[in-house]
Homo-oligomer: 714 residues x 2
């Protein structure tokens, strides 16, 4: 499905509403911006008080135009916008950019006006950029409404919720000298067109090789995820999400009024759908550049080829810190390197040529070719002073370096592995590096940035490798018995009882320990018959008691008839003292779970991203360390697996504390089932399995809580 934004954002004709010859007006700047930028399409100045502006015939209104322009740029104040949009709709203009501020970002009156603008636009069939947009450019169409000097047309598309961030990136690209942009849009208040629409558009826009976003807050995060899931299969999507801290969230909210949401959750969900999330602002452009030019990596095993020990060491540290590995080179590779390099060269990755290339830099290309042929290598990383041999050692090496650059360029064309290059001379940009850059091989001036790029390439590779699995989610048919549970709960205006939540899980195939509810004395005999001498847990069942332990409603390790009777009486007694009015249904009896690794699974419906599953280890891991993973529901098998593998506390799951390693596949199955249940039952507004005890042969759901959305009517 083609985005509606194509004609609009690559306009062959533009109506400038409020065009002006007065240099203090926005309509003046827009005109000069287009003319200076060499716009080749038709400009229609709209101004009721002028026959021509800057030598171009002007019209009194858009309705007076001979034909509909592809785009209207509205430069007039906020209050004029609704009427102008009606006119745009009348003549058939498909899209308008609204520069004015004074809408929802200011006050309630502004928000009302924004709502009016939106409904007029929808009726008129006009799509909107803004209002309150920082502007727009499409450099391949020579439309540069920002009047930015020195930006080159290129392949990076940018959507930025801050105009100054775009400016910073443009200046960085200018200083870098070989990075260009395709389209920029400042989404402003996103009254109509939002991040998801822009992503859809950039995904299809042919000049754009990477879609890059600076986001302070998503409005319709769910749709962004859906579009990103598809887009990122064929085009890299880079997001810098601000608000990683409370301080940043406050700042963003005072800036754009955006809801920030949980940063870690946002990052997890974006990565789930193949987005490359960048966490430092000065990595946005280098990562976007790398992704636009280099192919993804099939893994995260790096071969480092260095002509300086210091840089080799730093590269090794950063690679390991990023969770990547130094490739274990095979014998053929070592043998081939041995034939090429000095005997004192270190052939254990990182490879230190130890002077072998000082008089013969061309060897670097040979070594890169050898390394790229090694099956254990996913990325070849050249680290050092390539490009500077002719400057540092001897003038005559320049020719050698140029040949070497050409050999590297040929190699890049032949191998399916990315070649990543860091050079001390990147700033100096000598001819060999210019050649590489001209051929589309980026040269980085920071080891740290180069490693971030490798990380992005291998993340992207992993996403594409799991491609067959993307969107392959488990669904379950709705069980009428379960539907009944919700109907009952709604009828009594309560949530599910623990035993109901558990029986719902059981219906859908979740393994659960046996349990029964003691409602009267007779049930105790059943319990004793059923569980024998197994130590039991007894818990109160009451819709009015949320925190069972606080109410004294829990007894653990209860054994045998007499003890059960006493424990039940104690519970009832405690709970009545805790809350005299509580309606007590009975006491739930279930065998004590044996020792294992405590995990928790939670589901909530995020206002921005919809239903989201959380997985983590219990106790301090979730309470203090916040070591949890999030995925948007529904989950694929890869999603479930990766959310378990993402936790930092892998050692615990691998059996560090005297426990056996947990059965991850059983947990994967459990996560997928929960995901399917949430999809099947929109009535579930929250779900918590806390704790689940994971074993080497399955798990035990110790407690289950399901909160019911009472707004759903039957």
């Amino acid at each position: 499905m083609a985005s509606l934004l194509h004609d609009f954002l690559a306009p062959d004709s533009i109506a400038i509403i409020g065009a002006s010859a007065d240099p203090t007006k926005r309509g003046f700047k827009a005109m000069t911006g287009l003319l200076k930028g060499g716009y080749a399409g038709t400009i229609y100045p709209i101004n009721p008080n002028a026959d021509e502006i800057m030598g171009i015939k002007a019209y009194g209104s858009v309705t007076a135009l001979p034909t509909a322009a592809d785009m209207a740029l509205i430069c007039t104040p906020a209050h004029t916008v609704p009427f102008l949009l009606e006119q745009c709709g009348e003549i058939g203009i498909k899209g308008a950019i609204i520069l004015a501020s004074g809408f929802g970002e200011v006050d309630k009156a502004g928000a009302k006006l924004e709502q009016e603008v939106l409904s007029v636009a929808q009726q008129a069939g006009v799509r909107l950029v803004g209002p309150n947009t920082s502007g727009f450019f499409n450099l391949h169409k020579q439309v540069n409404l920002l009047a930015l000097d020195n930006v080159q047309a290129g392949d990076i598309g940018i959507i930025s919720q801050s105009g100054n961030i775009l400016l910073a990136l443009a200046l960085e690209a200018e200083s870098n000298g070989h990075i260009g942009f395709s389209v920029y849009v400042g989404p402003g208040n996103q009254a109509d067109v939002g991040f998801a629409d822009y992503l859809e558009y950039l995904g299809e826009e042919t000049n754009t090789r990477v879609a890059t976003f600076y986001v302070e807050g998503f409005k319709d995060g769910r749709r962004f995820l859906e579009v990103a899931r598809e887009t990122s299969r064929h085009k890299p999507v880079v997001v810098y999400k601000s608000g990683s801290t409370e301080a940043g969230q406050k700042a963003a909210s005072s800036h754009t009024g955006s809801l920030a949401g949980s940063y870690q959750m946002t990052v997890d969900l974006l990565r789930q759908v193949g987005v490359n999330v960048v966490e430092n602002s000065d990595e946005i452009l280098p990562v976007a550049e790398g992704l636009s030019l280099l192919q993804q990596a099939n893994g995260k095993k790096i071969a480092v080829l260095a002509d300086g020990g210091g840089q080799a060491t730093i590269a090794s540290d950063r690679i390991a810190e990023a969770g990547m590995e130094l490739a274990d080179l095979n014998d053929t590779t070592r043998h081939a390197l041995r034939n090429v390099l000095f005997p004192q060269a270190s052939l254990t990755n990182p490879i230190d040529v130890a002077g072998s290339t000082d008089a013969n830099p061309g060897l670097l290309a040979e070594c890169m070719a050898i390394l790229s042929n090694d099956d254990n290598v996913d990325i070849v990383f050249l680290v050092g002073m390539f490009g500077g041999y002719g400057i540092r050692f001897a003038e005559e090496l320049r020719q050698d370096e140029l040949s070497c650059a050409n050999a590297i360029i040929s190699l890049a064309g032949m191998t399916d592995k990315p070649l990543v290059i860091y050079s001390l001379y990147a700033h100096v940009n000598p001819e060999p590096l210019k050649q590489l850059r001209k051929a589309g091989l980026p040269v980085y001036d920071s080891i740290e940035h180069a490693v971030k790029i490798m990380e992005a390439l291998s993340e992207r590779g992993a996403y594409i490798q799991q491609s067959p699995d993307i969107g392959q989610t488990t669904a379950v048919p709705v069980m009428p018995e379960c539907q009944q549970l919700f109907t009952q709960a709604c009828l009594h205006n309560r949530d599910l009882f623990e035993f109901e939540a558990k029986s719902l899980l059981r219906y859908y195939g979740v393994d659960l320990p046996r349990e029964l509810v003691i409602r009267q004395d007779n049930d105790i005999t059943t319990a004793v018959d059923s569980f024998g001498e197994t130590p039991l847990a007894l818990k109160v069942v009451s819709k009015d008691i949320l925190h069972k332990s606080d109410a004294g409603g829990v007894r653990l390790n209860v054994c045998g008839d007499k003890a059960i009777r006493q424990a039940r009486l104690d519970i009832l007694d405690s709970c009545r003292r805790y809350s005299a009015d509580a309606a007590i249904e009975g006491v739930l009896v279930t065998p004590m779970a044996r020792k294992g690794v405590e995990v928790i699974i939670g589901m909530s419906r995020d206002p921005i991203f919809g239903p989201v599953l959380m997985f983590g280890l219990g106790g301090i891991f979730v309470e203090i360390l916040k070591d949890v993973a999030f995925r948007a529901i529904p989950l694929s098998h890869s999603d479930a697996r990766s959310m378990i593998d993402q936790l930092k506390a892998q050692k615990i799951m691998a059996g560090a504390r005297g426990e056996a390693a947990v059965d991850k596949e059983a947990l994967v199955k459990l996560l997928l089932t929960v995901s399917a249940i949430v999809v099947a039952h929109p009535e579930i507004s929250e779900l918590d399995l806390n704790p689940v005890i994971a074993y080497d042969d399955g798990y035990s759901v110790v407690d289950a809580r399901i909160i019911v959305d009472n707004t759903i009517k039957y």
Copy 2:
């Protein structure tokens, strides 16, 4: 005490041993390097086969010189070095730089030669740089043995264990355009002069305002710490330590043969003595620059002044992530800002001027002055497009910006708070930014780097603030009773028993629970009388049983006469079955510790850094999360306090898990006592208090282990 390196490394005369007119020789490069660099001192070429070299009178040997040169640069091969050093000593040359490789870094024969070189040098009274050095420069003396083009003389001194790292920094400085260096030395194999000597030298060297180190491995780490403790009081010391990961340590070791040691420990110890540790290689130069030009900060409360919401948000995130805070501005400040800025400006830090400065950039200096007057503010951080107003908005703003730059420069001269500046236009370097830079105010091109600099300034401020406490360590007189414990242990070739370790601690004033050893039946009665109904822990006492639990040598929660008897029998029985030959001294009885927060204290003697104390939380925090802190012994009060406050698990110590907050001062006292004990008793080779249970009113040392160094004789 003045460093011996002064004359040597700022030489008025240099003897080039192996000077040559043959361009392929090192002695040629050294000569041309000096001549091209405009060296004003006297050059003495030494070559037995030439009367003159490059027009300069040559000598057959150093002994033929009319007078001793300040420095000898030895360009000849390794095997010639010992004889040449003898000659240097004869004529009274104080120092030699040995370029040749082929020493300890290569093989055993090389190591032997290196040892010979060192002993000849020591006999001859000649200090050595190298061998295997990457070279040396002193730009204020126009000595540039690296023949680096385009490096400016400046105030950053560098010692780098990798020549290519120096090259990278020099190229980065060249591209930056306004950073210069004082002295560089490649320490090479550090046969004689090592990192600590270079630090001492740079600390005194008057052209150097910051001493910067790239270190792969320390040799004499202890001395480096001692020198750094003093140097960093008056001059910033910056260290990048490579080998933060196992991969990096391996790479470093294959590169320099250095022992890496624990990275985290090294970082902690360096910070303890006021060193600014940099963790990314592309932050070395910006941080060194910032520390050389800006005064330290008296705290970590930042006022952010921004003209772009995006950058304000990013800055806020990075500041919070770095553990710093956005300053809470006082009313006077807000009022003053309100008078200057547009009503829509956000006056809650980060301050967003919201267009107020678009036509009037001069306001930025006014706002900075207002912010610098706020007592709650430690650093003023200007973030945005300053310098670019004249480019982006209107030509005529350039003059305004120049005045603003001058006002900022004046402000910097008047306030004692650092002004840190990030500009989108840093790359472009327009006139206002040039002015700032010329006046010694750095302008950063990355928010991330600027925040690192602020972090460094406030770390440095904190070190200087604790200055009265630096080196104020607790000492204790050696107790003869304790000495006796070690004598006994050595005599029997064993470590201290747990009860001995505890009684030693008790002698030195550590609070310890009562305990006694049951050696025979009668002692049980004493125990019962002594402890009554308190639940007790019983533990075997045997020099042959290291892991008491494994041997079944521990019984917990034992209550009353009968149970004690039984537990003792069980323990003896289990232990005999575990190890029939174990000499069992008895069973230790002590009350069970009540619940609290489990911490551990450990001491070991590091081969590089000497005695080091470790502090951490018990259980998964130390086992899995490695959340521990290290300090070199002896500790000051600030050291002890900061090592507790450094742990990430502050929430646990603040009472997160239903416990009361721990009594940190009691732990500080305990750490100081342990430090003093370790100083008093060199016989202690390892010490472990694990666990110590911390309470809101003290602590309980549950287990103590002291390993005795049997090489110390009595």
